[in-house]
């Protein structure tokens, strides 16, 4: 993995880096956004519900205040006051009763009663014939009588009290509350005359089955909106734990009047008198809800006011907000990434150009230059690269020029040498014909073919013959040298029998001089030795080696020719041949000089023995062209030995 990363291109590396960084940033930003939105949405929703319920209370209480205001105006009415003082005036009483009845209907109220100072009902607008005049234990009236001032709020009405107002109300409460108890928003105001309380006037509205109040709350808060088929918000009034006034719809699509709140809510709100806020499953949807206790003027909890706001709306809002936030975050990230990528590209592209240019340079394209587009470090680097390439180009040109010069000079030398060698070959060749005639002529006389020869004549003829032999040797060597130097002598290898095809023919021309010196040849080469070589070239080698051995060998001495495998013993890849003669030998420090061109060793004992100084050089050239080696060794005063080793390319039987 590490190696894979190291092997990546810079662009890839930075790309991966950018992606990694932005991925991390994105994930953390996304997480934070999500968390923040989530927390915020829930808190915001709860705050909203608190506001809603406060607004709900305002609406709830404003109704009560309106009743109270109406009653305060009525309490100032002179005729009502006279009815309370003068009980006997039945005519006036009926007149006021009718007026009050009209007011009750106009205000859409359920009850409107006038009580005297003792608490007895003297005018009951809803049911004037009612025999019962008791008001039971009404905490609101108690408060008005005891404190002598107006009071508004919510009270419970027991069955007797309902009965007094009419059997229909008992039925109503039974239908919308399950029992003969009613819950009423009402107000009561004392009637004063001359600083004395002469009566109380009370007006109220039963909540059981009435939806006017809750619908007003809902409409002003939620405008009766629907969301996904569900009402956005609902309001309910509970009598104790039972819904008596609600716009929550039940499974059947009608108002869920008569159903009960959960035990958890009832426990907290009704028993302990605290608010309950939270998620509540209302019929079939989750609502963020608040339940507040409703108290009577004595402070006893008699019911609950509920406001619910559809949770799905908040959740969807939250999802939308989260989605939007994430979209912004990720969009920004992608944008930043793109900008960063382009930036890196801009930075890296000159580096890539530099890289390509370096590669081209290393492949030998010295003319390639980089277009410098910036003045920054990379621009400077590019400039340096161009200077370097320019320098290299110039150096290379210089080297090429001097190389060309050397080549030309060498070629000139080669041509000169070749011309010289051609001339040498030509001259030598031209010498052959006259030399041929001279040799044949001189030897014919000397050998007595043309008649008897005197001793003095013989001596001169012998001397001339020797000079001619030397001249002949010279011509031969120069021709060989010319052939070698012109590169005409290519090795044409074939398997040859060493004795038959090389040694015997080489010896043939040498037999007379061998006999002259009384020397003998000891050829220890077995008849079956085969050699892979050019027989004509190898014959030149042996002619030279043997003629040297005769020339520098001791009179009556022996020349030994031997063969053997390589001494090194590493393999059988070499055939070793040696020619040894007895004689004065050669100083060891001069042995190597022998193989140089035109080398002649000055030795007193060799005086008068003329050599061309080419024989061993020619031998070495030929042997080396065969891939072999030639060397000399000697013991001064005793013997000289030349050894050549040739790679065995064929078989030796």
């Amino acid at each position: 993995m590490r190696f894979a990363f190291e092997n990546m291109k810079l662009q890839t590396k930075t790309n991966i880096g950018i992606i990694a960084i932005f991925l991390l940033l994105g994930i953390s930003a996304g997480f934070m956004t999500f968390k923040w939105q989530n927390d915020y949405a829930i808190k915001a929703a709860e705050n909203r519900v608190r506001l809603y319920i406060r607004a709900g209370w305002e609406i709830y209480n404003s109704k009560i205040e309106r009743i109270q205001a109406t009653l305060k105006v009525l309490a100032e009415d002179r005729r009502l006051q006279r009815v309370l003082v003068d009980r006997a005036n039945g005519e006036l009483k009926d007149e006021v009763l009718h007026e009050l009845q009209a007011i009750r209907l106009d205000q859409n109220m359920d009850i409107l009663n006038v009580l005297d100072a003792s608490g007895r009902v003297i005018l009951r607008t809803r049911h004037p014939e009612s025999s019962s005049d008791g008001i039971g234990d009404d905490p609101m009236l108690r408060k008005v009588f005891s404190e002598k001032k107006a009071c508004g709020g919510t009270v419970l009405l027991d069955e007797r009290r309902l009965q007094a107002e009419g059997q229909d109300l008992v039925e109503l409460c039974r239908r919308y509350g399950g029992e003969a108890v009613g819950m009423m928003t009402a107000a009561a105001v004392p009637v004063h005359r001359d600083g004395r309380v002469i009566g109380v006037i009370q007006m109220g509205n039963l909540l059981n089955g009435s939806v006017e109040k809750v619908d007003r709350i809902r409409n002003s808060l939620f405008e009766n909106e629907q969301y996904g088929g569900k009402p956005v918000g609902t309001a309910t009034v509970f009598m104790r734990d039972r819904r008596i006034s609600t716009n929550v719809l039940g499974q059947d699509g009608t108002r869920a009047i008569g159903t009960r709140a959960s035990d958890e809510v009832a426990e907290r709100v009704l028993r302990r008198g605290l608010s309950w806020t939270g998620r509540a499953l209302v019929v079939n949807a989750w609502y963020l809800s608040q339940y507040d206790p409703i108290r009577d003027p004595d402070g006893r909890v008699i019911g609950m006011l509920y406001i619910g706001s559809l949770e799905k709306r908040y959740l969807d809002q939250r999802s939308r907000a989260i989605f939007l936030n994430l979209a912004v975050v990720f969009g920004g990230m992608v944008l930043a990434m793109a900008v960063f990528y382009l930036l890196m590209r801009t930075i890296l592209s000159p580096i890539r150009r530099l890289h390509l240019a370096t590669r081209r340079l290393s492949q030998g394209d010295l003319d390639h230059r980089i277009v410098v587009r910036s003045q920054d470090e990379i621009g400077e680097l590019s400039q340096s690269f161009n200077q370097m390439a320019q320098q290299l180009r110039e150096d290379q040109q210089e080297i090429q020029q001097s190389h060309d010069q050397v080549e030309r000079r060498n070629e000139e030398l080669r041509i000169i040498n070749r011309n010289y060698m051609e001339m040498l070959g030509f001259v030598s060749h031209e010498l052959k014909s006259p030399l041929g005639a001279a040799v044949l002529g001189v030897y014919s006389i000397k050998d007595g073919y043309l008649g008897p020869v005197s001793d003095t004549q013989q001596r001169i003829l012998t001397s001339v013959a020797q000079s001619l032999d030397y001249l002949n040797e010279m011509v031969k060597h120069y021709l060989d040298l010319s052939r070698l130097e012109k590169g005409e002598l290519k090795v044409n290898r074939r398997m040859v029998n060493l004795n038959q095809e090389i040694i015997a023919p080489s010896l043939q021309g040498l037999m007379p001089s061998l006999e002259d010196k009384g020397m003998s040849i000891e050829n220890r080469v077995p008849d079956n030795v085969l050699l892979c070589c050019d027989p004509h070239l190898m014959r030149i080698v042996f002619e030279n080696l043997l003629s040297n051995a005769i020339k520098y060998g001791r009179n009556e001495g022996t020349i030994q020719i031997e063969t053997g495998q390589a001494k090194s013993g590493t393999d059988t890849g070499e055939t070793v041949l040696s020619v040894m003669n007895e004689g004065d030998g050669i100083a060891p420090d001069k042995l190597n000089l022998l193989f140089q061109k035109f080398s002649r060793i000055d030795h007193p004992k060799h005086a008068g023995k003329k050599g061309t100084g080419l024989g061993l050089y020619i031998c070495r050239e030929i042997i080396e062209q065969h891939g072999g080696k030639i060397s000399g060794e000697s013991e001064e005063g005793r013997w000289t030995k030349f050894t050549l080793s040739l790679p065995t390319l064929g078989t030796r039987t």
């Binding site: 014909s433 040799v439 043309l450």
Partner: protein, 133 residues
Amino acid sequence: MIKTKAKILVVDDDVQHVDTVKTLLESVGYSVDYAYLPEKAIEKAKGAPPDLILLDVMFAGPPGPDGVATSRRIHADPELQKIPVIILSGVRKVLDLPFRLEPDDEWMPVKAFLEKPIKPDKLLAEIQKALGK
């Protein structure tokens, strides 16, 4: 020394060489005729067939057939093909040949290939061998 006078035709463009060879061969009892050019030699051989032809390889003058080509012509001629041919030349066998291969009898139908300079002993021995004596 030689009972029946064998007749030898010497073909060479070197006048001194022809003289020397002629003198030597005549002194040992051969009858010698000569020619300086191959065409002339073939003409002479047809007129009076020799027992042996001693032939040089390189000839001066305008390019004509060399000694080797001449030996082939002699061999191909029904009148002359029985006459043995010896080449005696300054050319070194094989090394100076254009393609550096050991020539076969068909390409160079000669009894011997001798190299100048040559000593009388060797020359006479080769001639006797070629004459089958």
